[in-house]
Amino acid sequence: MRLSLVTLRNWKTHRRFRLEVPFHNDRPVVLLEGNNGSGKTSILEAIVLGLYGRAGLPMVARANSTTRQDRSYERFMERALNAKARTGRSQISIELGFVTDEDEILIERVWHFKDGLLQRDDEEARVYTGADREVVPLPDPKEEERFLKDFIAHHVLPENLAGFFMLDGEHLERMASANVNGQVKAALDAAMGVDQLRLVAADLRSYARERRRQLPEDSAAAEAASLALTNLERDIESRTESADRLLSEIIPLRQQREDVVGQIGSLHGDSYRAFKEHFEDRERISRDRDAMREDLRRLLSGDLAQALSGANVRRAAISRIQMEDASERKRLGEAQNLSRTEEFLERFNRRVAADNEVKGAIIEAWQEMWTRAGPLEAERVFSHLGESDRRAVAEHLDRLGSISATQIRDIAHAVSAADDRIAALDRGLASQRGLDEESRLLAARLETLQSELSRTEGDHAREMATLEELRERHAKATEHLATATAAGFNHSAAAERTRQAERYADLIEDFSLQASPENLHDLSEAISTAYRSMAQKSVVERVEVNEDGKVALLDIDGLDLQELDASAGESHIFALSLMSALASMAADFPIIMDSPFARLDVVHRRKVIEHFSGLGRQLVLLVHPAELRPEELDLIESRSSGKILLASQDTRTMSAGATA
């Protein structure tokens, strides 16, 4: 893309200004030269304001250098109005033309004034495309600013990238002196278009929400059932993997335990068999004891409270759930049948010709039959439960009736008895292990193995118990989905689209997260290349940017040179390198610089000119004649498709080689 046209009216010192920007592929530089007050910076400001309107104000250096009151958009525009246009009704207009390989775009903004005061509601903007300047229709005024922002972001340059393509010396000064780390991360996200991708993901999710909201309720139920089933399947897969992993740890542990038991047995000859039998008894009783402890824990922490609430409370809850379940099924049936009222009437008419009075009576009777209000229409206590959940809760409450204090006491006694038996077996095992050093070491090893094995087997048992429960719920959820799907069959396609939209939104977000770090490498390389190209000293071997956007300027030994004080010139070179790298990665837009050479010495200026004029894109330079030495001007002109001299006059039309 290149800048092809700038037209200004009553903009600052430019009463009438028209610049047809020259361009040749082999000579990408355009030089605008002018003394102080000739309007160089005003041209850059006009391009920024023309593209972004009010949103462009923070990018304009001079707007930020005045008092707070004067920094307002209105005051800035009023100061921008040419002095000769401050009486009566007048306008500022800025027209910008851009050319790409496929298209031409013209953006025009007009601000209206009365006696020098900005008329806020009279700000206009128009966009034209194509060689024939076809008007792009704008939406209603409320949407207009957003339309322009989006259109320019997608067809010209997003606002958050503008600072890397258009800058003046003051902006460069700020970039060089500010915390560069914070800039790099935000700049990289902007350059990589992360915000654009987030917008796409957000749009897809909005779409899914909107479409889901439009689904009939029975389809929403099927959708919810499908989602619940998917979540259950995901849980089952995860628990199965966990159980398999635990089992893979258990098997070698058991083998190691067998080996140690064998070694202990071999030390004690004939008593090995007794030792092994004791050990296996101990393990069996220990496993049974752990299972009973788990049952006791579950009873005490969960079901006991509900069991102790009393049979009356449980029966009342079960009854309520059953009534709400019946009411819900009836309501779904009503909806289905009411929607078939017309069909019923048509079938009736085929058999018996009915007059309007009869038809009306039939419809009333049909509706009356299906819309009898139940006692629960006004209030639902368990509205948060789906159909399968209602049944599961009712069954669970019913089972609780069989839990008694006696049962809990018996389990507790059994656990205690198991503990005593295990302790006795431990004493017996200890007496068989022997007192010599080798026996003690083997015994200690066995104890460690057994402890680890018990813990792992316990974890495995819990995973298997959870898996069993999940599989039961999966079976019920499958049944529920089949019921809901049969009801929502006609809307399954719409429901599928909402799921797909969310999956694509997930894909975009994962892609953004994973792709960004990979581009850091490219950015680091690009900054390094640009820096080495423009810096006089070759002390910097490479530039590295990490995932947090932290920048390191590394010498050949890997030392971060930012630890040392950098000169202002070196900081400017780094800022220019960052700008060059991001511009090359981010967008096809010309680079426009206003007096970028003030802080640079002779050698650096030459290097900067060579670097930026060799980037393969249009470079618009606004310079003061004294800013460059004759040989530097010659270098620029050798790569330039046109040189324009600016002066403060009322009416000018500029093209290549023109002099104001």
Binding site: P139, E143, R146, F147, L148, K149, D150, F151, A153, H154, H155, V156, L157, P158, A191, M192, G193, V194, Q196, L197, L199, V200, D203, L204, S206, Y207, E210, R211, A493, E496, R497, Q500, A501, R503, Y504, D506, L507, I508, D510, F511, S512, Q514, A515, S516, E518, N519, D522, M585, A586, A587
Partner: protein, 61 residues
């Protein structure tokens, strides 16, 4: 203006890999992104959601 992440070769390869893992079609994603770009600056949701309907319906066939 397309995201630079999507324009690089590496970005395209990563997207294809992630899409395959999720049993999704990267070309459908490109169409969805193009739909958002083409509807930029318009009253977004009105035409764009209908466009999403079309793209996602076609992808399911």
């Amino acid at each position: 203006m397309k995201s630079a992440l999507l324009q690089s070769e590496r970005g395209q390869e990563l997207l294809a890999t992630l899409a395959r893992e999720r049993d999704l079609d990267p070309q459908v994603l490109q169409k969805l992104i193009e739909a958002v770009e083409e509807h930029s600056g318009m009253i977004r949701r009105r035409g764009m959601f209908v466009r999403f309907d079309t793209i996602l319906t076609a992808s399911g066939q």
